[in-house]
């Protein structure tokens, strides 16, 4: 009797393990497919972000007695209509700035060229070493290879952008309408003995990611707004474009602020017309970054992710190594997910 019971237990356990293996394999395959297919990964990231932003609105419609599908449709449409108009005006402002940049670009190039020659001459004066390295040649070669790479990747950028523009609203709508059913369908694959813990983990992850995305967007908005005000006060050219770059790139941890504020410092260096703005540019970039690091990030983001700064840094480095800029972008949420899973699994083990 006892051996029959243990046989049954063993069968039940192996069935549960098989189910767990199937759930893990399915989730990993789906995730890998999304990550590998860049055309899908970018709209997927955008849609998830928008899902967390718009879900409270859909819930509001549902509370008022409207069906979820109608709420999802209204939320998606009302977001994408003004978003298209705002994007159009921001992009047209940015294009105007770009056009103005384009006209001043030959001048900038000449200035850069002269600056390098001047720098080379001064360096030769100060350091009395004969060397046969032509810095100008190196810089020109480097810029040429950079433009070749840009020409090579630009079709991909255009195709990815088009895919993102088409797929994002569709994916957002389906996520808003069916996220619960999708989550439940995936959780139904879990073995019975892990069902409640899987459900709790899924719920905790959803809460954490939602709060993180909202906090990062608020942080980017504040940084963008501060940059716009400061650029306006100092009378910087291309202020809308520069503030947009500073705000958007701020979403990427660590490297984002450097990339975002680099153009603000480079313009006064490269264009003598704005040379007087170099110190205000440095001061402004430092001040906004200090405000971000000392106030906005700790108040808004750190509390939510609840990770040790060293762990955050490591995860960003690993993310950058594995997935480049996209890897950096998703590194912190993935680290937070790993922490939740570990805490739940270890917690259950300790209990």
């Amino acid at each position: 009797m006892e051996s029959r019971l243990s046989d049954r237990d063993a069968i039940l356990r192996s069935k549960a393990n098989l189910r767990l293996l199937f759930l893990t394999a399915t989730s990993l395959t789906l995730f890998s497919l999304i990550v590998i297919t860049t055309n899908l990964f970018i709209p997927f990231i955008f849609s998830i972000t928008l899902y967390f932003l718009l879900n409270p609105i859909v819930n509001f419609f549902e509370r008022q007695g409207y069906s979820r599908i109608l709420g999802a449709f209204i939320a998606t449409a009302t977001f994408f209509a003004p978003f298209t108009i705002i994007s159009y005006s921001v992009i047209s402002m940015a294009i105007q700035d770009l056009a103005s940049l384009e006209t001043s670009l030959p001048q900038l190039a000449t200035n850069t060229h002269n600056w390098i020659i001047d720098f080379e001459a001064r360096l030769a004066e100060k350091i009395d070493i004969t060397y046969d390295i032509n810095i100008t040649e190196y810089v020109v070669d480097f810029l040429e290879s950079l433009s070749a790479i840009f020409i090579q990747i630009s079709p991909n950028i255009v195709s990815n952008t088009l895919w993102a523009l088409i797929l994002t609203p569709i994916l957002t709508f389906f996520l808003l309408n069916d996220a619960l059913s999708i989550r439940n369908a995936i959780l139904n694959l879990s073995p019975n003995r892990f069902f409640e813990s899987s459900y709790e983990i899924a719920h905790l992850i959803e809460d954490k990611i939602s709060s993180y995305i909202i906090a990062k967007i608020i942080e980017a908005l504040i940084v963008g707004l501060l940059a716009l005000i400061a650029l306006g006060v100092f009378g910087f050219p291309y202020s809308a474009l520069l503030a947009l770059i500073a705000g958007v790139t701020n979403i990427v941890p660590y490297f984002g602020p450097i990339i975002g504020f680099a153009p603000i410092i480079l313009i006064p260096i490269l264009d003598p017309q704005y040379a007087h703005l170099l110190y205000p540019a440095i001061l402004m970039s430092l001040t906004i970054n200090v405000i971000d690091l000392a106030l906005i990030f700790p108040i808004l983001v750190s509390k939510i992710i609840d990770l040790h700064p060293l762990f955050v840094l490591f995860s960003v480095l690993i993310g950058s190594h594995l997935g480049g800029p996209l890897g950096i972008l998703v590194a912190i949420p993935i680290a937070a997910i790993i922490k939740i899973v570990l805490m739940q699994v270890l917690g259950a083990g300790l209990k």
Partner: protein, 182 residues
Amino acid sequence: MRREKIRQESIWKDFFSAEREKNPVLAALKENALFQDLNSFELRYLERIVHIRKYEAGEFVFQQNETGIGMYIIAKGLVDIKIPPKAKNSDGEEAVITTLNRGTFFGEQALVEAEAKRTATALVTEPSVLIAFLKPDLMDIVHRRPSLGIKITMQLAKVLGKRLKQTTDRLSEFAAKSDYGK
């Protein structure tokens, strides 16, 4: 007259069993005390939220002292509710305190309690279908459909109140017997 009444009862019985066979989950939800105030639209909505879990004989739904986050309604099958033997050094088997069948539910304490520990073990004794209704589901309903959330929580409060009253009555009975013994 009596035969007519029996015939009518059997007609209704057949009607309900036909419906049960068509959609056992919806039927189980409809018959459950927690959801008895819900109209058909609300029941359909709830049906999309709850989780259908299939168990084989010998599988645990949960074990005593595990952290729980929800309750289970039996749509089909039998579940034993067991507790360990009273004496700490006893190596006897767990005692079955009750066997639950179709339509009954258990684990509802976890819907209201934070970090709730299961007070007993639930073991499936024949192939069963259980409907899991978890605390995050209830919170989702409260956020998305507050009127439905209130209906369910009011019924939940009634059920928990009833159980508390039953326990108090048993304790009073026990205390009275103890006093009588003295």
